[in-house]
């Protein structure tokens, strides 16, 4: 993973007032997306003031279960239920409009409007997911995607280190967290005395220029280390990812997959909440005088996904589940040089029947 850099002398301590001020500066420069409470969950949404933030909440997550509680402190939750995929690879993105004028067809290619975006409060798993999406759409793509790229080029990120992990978090297993190690413009860690603010890019440095702040001391950095260690301790190591990958290639036979095929609804939820599942469909929305071509989220669990010439190649649910899991934990590495899974656990929490992908990997690998 490319690290934008954490050079020395870029560590500051700020208090709550400065944090509020920082948010104000960001709101002036960018359209800010940040975690807010909506419908009883924490969700990234356009946010215009500090007071709207979901600070002081705790998300309790189990397979197929989500609940919010109040908690002492500020960044007391983990990642929101949605991810930056929603911002950079929107669920429905119009690509083209065709209009009929007299007898001529006019083609109008719609590009994102180029406004500057800020994603405030991104956790380690999701920053890793950003790198994964970058590889999919740009870096490892012979034809870099112009739509993704135009949104991506305008993105400014403020990372936050997690001081808590839910029962569905497994970033330590996937090697992506809980420590934010790069890919951010600014990074925050909530400490006893205030907030540790670290700079990861020139743009980040510029943003915090006018901010009231003081140099962080050794003990502040030490406290950050301790917080990260403590958070790590809240998670188990579920499996060894390289070993799992190697063994998965020898587990294609359907007998390994039928047990999960019996439990899975093929509802597509896991793929929709996943921060790296990028599959899309091209939907033609035809009208009488104008038509749109829209890029819409798709899913390998959908019955139309592997349908060729009216025949669905993956009829059984277990074959769709196999495709998904194998892609995430095996093929993705061949394709993009990273795992497709970042260990955020969203697919576990948001599976309506609580299927836990960690257990499935373990079961299949150990069989």
């Amino acid at each position: 993973m490319e690290v934008k850099g954490e050079d020395e002398g870029s560590n500051y301590l700020i208090d709550l007032d400065s944090l509020v001020e920082l948010f104000g500066i960001l709101s002036q420069r960018y359209r800010v997306w940040a975690p807010k409470v909506k419908d009883g969950v924490i969700r990234y949404m356009p946010t215009s003031s500090f007071g709207e933030l979901a600070l002081g909440y705790r998300n309790i997550e189990l397979p197929g279960y989500y609940e919010l509680k109040k908690e002492e402190g500020y960044f007391t939750y983990t990642h929101p239920v949605n991810s930056l995929k929603e911002l950079l690879h929107p669920p429905e993105l119009p690509l083209m409009r065709v209009v009929k004028q007299s007898s001529e067809l006019l083609f109008d290619y719609t590009m994102p409007n180029g406004e500057r975006l800020c994603l405030f409060d991104v956790r380690a798993c999701d920053l890793w997911a950003l790198e994964v999406l970058d590889r999919v759409f740009i870096k490892n793509n012979p034809k870099p995607d112009p739509y993704y790229k135009s949104l991506r080029d305008n993105l400014f990120t403020v990372g936050v280190n997690c001081s808590y992990a839910t029962s569905t978090c497994f970033c330590t297993t996937m090697g992506t967290g809980p420590e934010v190690r790069g890919g951010y413009d600014l990074l925050l860690t909530e400490l006893k005395e205030g907030f540790l603010l670290q700079v990861g890019s020139e743009e980040g440095r510029e943003v915090i220029g006018p901010l009231k702040k003081r140099r962080a001391e050794e003990r502040h950095l030490q406290e950050k280390e301790n917080i990260i260690k403590r958070t790590e301790g809240m998670m188990q190591k579920d499996f060894h990812r390289q070993e799992a990958r190697e063994r998965l290639y020898g587990r294609m036979d359907e007998t390994y997959w039928e047990p999960v095929g019996k439990r899975c609804l093929a509802c597509t939820n896991c793929t929709q909440v996943c921060p790296t599942c990028f599959c899309f469909d091209m939907v033609e929305k035809n009208g009488l005088s104008e038509s749109y071509r829209v890029r819409a989220w798709d899913s390998c669990f959908s019955p139309s996904f592997a349908t060729l010439h009216r025949f669905n190649l993956r009829q059984s649910i277990h074959s769709r589940y196999r495709q998904w899991l194998m892609h995430k934990f095996a093929y993705w590495v061949d394709q993009f040089g990273t795992y497709g899974c970042v260990g955020c656990g969203r697919c576990i929490t948001w599976c309506p029947v609580g299927i836990d992908v960690r257990q499935e990997v373990r079961r299949i690998v150990q069989a």
Binding site: K38, D39, G40, V41, R43, G64, Y65, Y66, E67, V81, N82, E86, P91, E92, K262, R263, C264, L265, A266, C267, T268, N269, Q272, V273, V283, E284, N286, G287, L288, A296, W297, D298, S299, S302, P303, S304, Q315, I317, T349, W350, C351, P352, V353, G354
Partner: protein, 248 residues
């Protein structure tokens, strides 16, 4: 293209989509001539139809014959709505003791031959396209007409509602609010209307192909006993859909 609109046992609600589409239908009147539509016109001609839209379920002996005649007169037959696709709400009787139920509702025999079962068109004739919903949406109807116009296959979803629900950025009511939602085994197309208002889907678009009902019942055990969920399905609009009837 000659179009016929027909109805069987149903509430007439799906046919209303044609009236909602008035403006477009007028614009398209050169391409589509509505030859037969009892609810809309007093002049009806029954010859050959390029497209027949059929609402309603087959639930009398007379209807069994009439649907065969429509099929024989039509090139392309479209079943519109839960009644035509699945048998409709009236198929709740399919899971009861018919004679007893009949006696409870009617004092004396009706003057026509009512069948024991209320069944979808596809139990009797070949159906070229099924449009889900109770009622269908005018957008689906427009898509079918335009696809004939543009000679393409109509873009109607076969995927589950959850995909549409998530594209709409809804919060899942099962996971976050402990509600029973039939979205995972129900076909999309309604715009995830119910979950968008914070309640579970009750399946008016009917089951997906090969729904994994057993897994849903098992997974929802903590929310509602399996028997009650099955009862919900048996009393629903799509209880007798071929994809799910054997499981109920």
């Amino acid at each position: 293209m000659k179009v016929g609109v027909f109805k069987f046992s149903s509430c007439d609600g799906c046919q209303l989509a044609f009236f909602e589409l008035e403006r477009e239908l007028l614009e398209l009147s050169e391409r589509f001539q509505i030859e037969y539509f009892l609810e809309a016109s007093s002049e009806n001609r029954w010859e050959r139809f390029d497209i027949a839209f059929v609402e309603g379920s087959i639930s009398t002996h007379d209807e069994e014959e009439r649907i065969v005649r429509i099929r024989e007169s039509s090139k392309y037959l479209v079943a519109i709505g839960a009644c035509a696709v699945s048998g409709g709400i009236q198929s709740a009787r399919n899971y009861e003791n018919f004679e007893e139920l009949f006696r409870r509702v009617y004092e004396k025999p009706l003057g026509y031959g009512i069948s024991r079962l209320s069944r979808p068109l596809s139990d009797f004739v070949k159906v070229d396209l099924e449009v889900r919903g109770c009622p269908i949406s005018k957008d689906a109807l427009r898509e079918i007409l335009l696809s004939h116009l543009y000679n393409k296959s109509p873009n109607l979803p076969s995927y589950p509602l959850c995909l549409e629900c998530k594209r709409k950025l809804n919060t899942c009511v099962v996971v976050a609010h402990r509600q029973v939602c039939l979205g995972p085994i129900t076909v999309a197309g309604c715009g995830a209307l119910c979950p968008s208002y914070g309640r579970g889907c009750y399946g008016c678009y009917g089951p997906v192909e090969k729904p994994n009902l057993e897994a849903l019942l098992e997974g929802y055990k903590g929310l509602m006993p399996s028997e009650n969920i099955k009862e919900l399905l048996r009393l629903g609009f799509n209880a007798y859909n071929p994809n799910i009837r054997v499981m109920l």
